[in-house]
Amino acid sequence: MKRASGGDARRTRRGSRILVRAVLKTPLHAVIVVICFLWLLPSLGLFVSSLRPRHLIQQSGWWTAFETPFQFTLDNYSHVIESSNMGRSFINSLLIAVPATVFPTVIAVFTAYAFSRLKFFGRDAVFLVIVGLLVVPIQMTLIPVLRVFNQLRLTGTFLGVWLAHAAYGLPFAIYLLRNFIDELPVEMFESAQMDGASHFRIIVSLVIPTSVPALASLAIFQFMWVWNDLLVALIYLGGTPDVAPMTVTISHLVSSQGSGWEYLTAAAFISMLLPMIVFFSLQKYFIRGIVAGSVKG
């Protein structure tokens, strides 16, 4: 840090202005740090617990881990990784989550474009119904959909669970993207049409490249929801080892009387890994995309 010395009064003034601003902002920063700390505390406790030996997790709180003698171990992690079927279910989770993210995102782009740019009979009514579907609780649909799936022999197949996840994700996806496409400048579409571009061409060459922030945040939402989903997988896919995703296999770590829950601490971090990677790699789009469709101008 360079101190203002000698006659350069202007620099001194600027220096003190920065200082004043820093002092004024200190309370704000302090509040942010405190909130972040409180927010992260449970995760921190979970993380510390996951590194403690089993009997200590059961006997005492995680904060006692910082007392000497230190007793840390990776046993919980190795148990989870080595437990039967964890590798297979990681693959299963990917096999479910990737198509169940791609399908609704792609379908939603085309649908949202239609709702935004095409004029057809009953457009607003259909859109209203789709928005209305946002508030239908998923539990209401389980039995009727499962009956249909049984007839079509889709129960227990990946195709069935892709369809289910796509359908549950679509109302929100269409709603988000339609509002985003609405904001795109009309001139852009008009000039494309004048150049003779088809709708398909407009979507592929114009809409998709300009909606990357919205698409990325949508993909993150959908991926996280599918990755963390237990209910849909359990109902439509079942818990048999060859199709069970990680959420189902992790829930098998605990016995019916609740013993073995200490492994969940490690399992939580293992299953968090991939969503974290997805989130951080798409983060810069996410920040821009989170306000997608919120301001209509």
Partner: protein, 424 residues
């Protein structure tokens, strides 16, 4: 065209080659839905691997801890598993009355089961005179764990009657110590450990007959019997200074960890009531404890000496289809061969031909002995009640510990739930 011929040729060839491999045994598969996980699931996979070897039957196990919702959804939508492993007898009753379950006496050799199971198991598993539920893995309820070393230091002895137990608690109070460790938190099933207390008190006070009327829904919750059972529980659990952590400790402590204060060093409490499966969990949390010398138990002592019944909880097998594979699976599961490996995990098995040597340690053997010598076995009453009443009972115990003075209002609310359910 040539391609098609080749495909047909390959299909036929593989069918012919594949056939002899599965000829000597039955083949096929059984789908099973249950609540097991962790070590239970490991053992189950081990014993079903044997079934694969001897009969070539594949057992596909699906586990969920929310069996109530998942099974109901699957049954309603016409996609039930072949066999369900149910922790609540009320579900067996439900599905049996709806005509979804197979009467096991038409499927398996009940004579053999009658030789190896005591008659109470068949009675408990029967609904309206038909045999639907085959008990598999059970736990004895209403056991009080303590540390014999600490008892010796303080000159205390395991009580023989309820009054002795209350005097023992008072003695500990007089020594400025906390007698009881109680914790009833268990996620969305919070309160069930308290219902176990009340049920054990009820059956010791009034016997198996009124107990049955209570869970059958013919005894009012506002009856003096139920009220007395709540009050006797409250005399321990809701009494100032009698429980570690007081009322808020009781309500917020997870049942899995509730016994820790008894075995920690120094101890913070001296008595802890739970089922037999808890012994293994305590031994895991405190690996240095030696069974019998450092951790022992007594059965909650009798109140009215006339009424001797052992309360149990457990998992019951029920069949939704009657294929030969289901028959083979159920007969295997009822046998000592399938049950002995589970005995080693700390479960108490209903087949009394399971040798005592199969149990993991001295405590587990004593649990089995209690079960085998019991005159009357009753099932956990709350798990016999319809789910709505069961859930209401769980949360009523929470309200009661929070505010014991509201007991009459709490019981009136439960009575209203009972009437709503039975008058539907």
């Amino acid at each position: 065209m040539k391609k098609a011929v080749t495909v047909i040729y390959i299909v036929v060839l593989s069918a012919v080659v594949g056939m002899p491999a599965c000829q000597p045994s039955m083949g096929g598969k059984v789908t099973v839905l249950g609540v097991w996980g962790g070590s239970e699931l490991d053992v189950f996979n081990k014993i079903t691997a044997d079934l694969k070897k001897t009969k070539n039957i594949d057992v596909e196990f699906e586990a969920t801890r929310d069996i109530n919702a998942v099974l109901t959804t699957r049954v309603e939508s016409g996609n039930p598993p072949d066999v369900a492993i149910l922790p609540q007898l009320s579900l067996v009753v439900d599905f049996a009355r709806k005509g979804k379950l197979v009467d096991l006496s038409t499927l398996i050799d009940v004579g053999k089961i009658k030789n190896e199971y005591s008659p109470s198991w068949i009675d408990l598993g029967s609904v309206d005179g038909k045999f639907y539920g085959l008990f598999f893995k059970t736990a004895v309820k209403g056991l009080v764990y303590y540390d014999p070393q600490r008892f010796k230091e303080l000159g205390l002895q395991a009580p023989k009657t309820w009054d002795e137990m209350m005097r023992l608690s008072q003695k500990l109070i007089d020594m400025k110590k906390t007698p009881w460790a109680i914790g009833i938190e268990s996620g969305n099933a919070s309160g069930w450990p308290a219902t176990d207390w009340i049920e054990n008190i009820f059956v010791r006070q009034y016997g198996a007959g009124p107990y049955r009327r209570w869970y059958d829904g013919t005894l009012a919750w506002t009856s003096p019997q139920v009220k007395k059972a709540f009050q006797m529980f409250g005399d321990i659990a809701a009494r100032q200074g009698w429980t570690y952590g007081g009322a808020s400790g009781v309500l917020s402590t997870a049942f899995q960890e509730a016994g820790n204060p008894v075995f920690s060093d120094p101890p913070k409490a001296y008595l802890f009531q739970q089922a037999s499966f808890m012994a293994g969990m305590i031994e895991q949390a405190f690996p240095d404890l030696k069974p019998v010398t450092d951790i022992n138990f007594f059965v909650l002592p009798p109140i009215d000496p006339e009424n001797k019944a052992v309360e149990i909880g457990g998992d019951v097998l029920a069949a939704f289809s009657s294929t030969p594979q289901v028959k083979a699976f159920l007969e295997y599961m009822s046998s000592s061969d399938a049950q002995a490996p589970f005995a080693a995990t700390g479960a108490t098995m209903p087949n009394h031909t399971v040798p005592l040597s199969a149990y993991g340690n001295e405590l587990d053997r004593e649990f089995a002995a209690i079960l085998n010598s019991a005159d009357t076995v009753v099932f956990d009453a709350s798990d016999m009640m319809p789910s709505e009443i069961n859930a209401a009972f769980w949360s009523a115990t929470i309200d009661y510990i929070k505010n014991p003075a509201r007991l009459d209002a709490i019981l009136a609310q439960l009575e209203k739930t009972r009437q709503d359910v039975y008058n539907k």
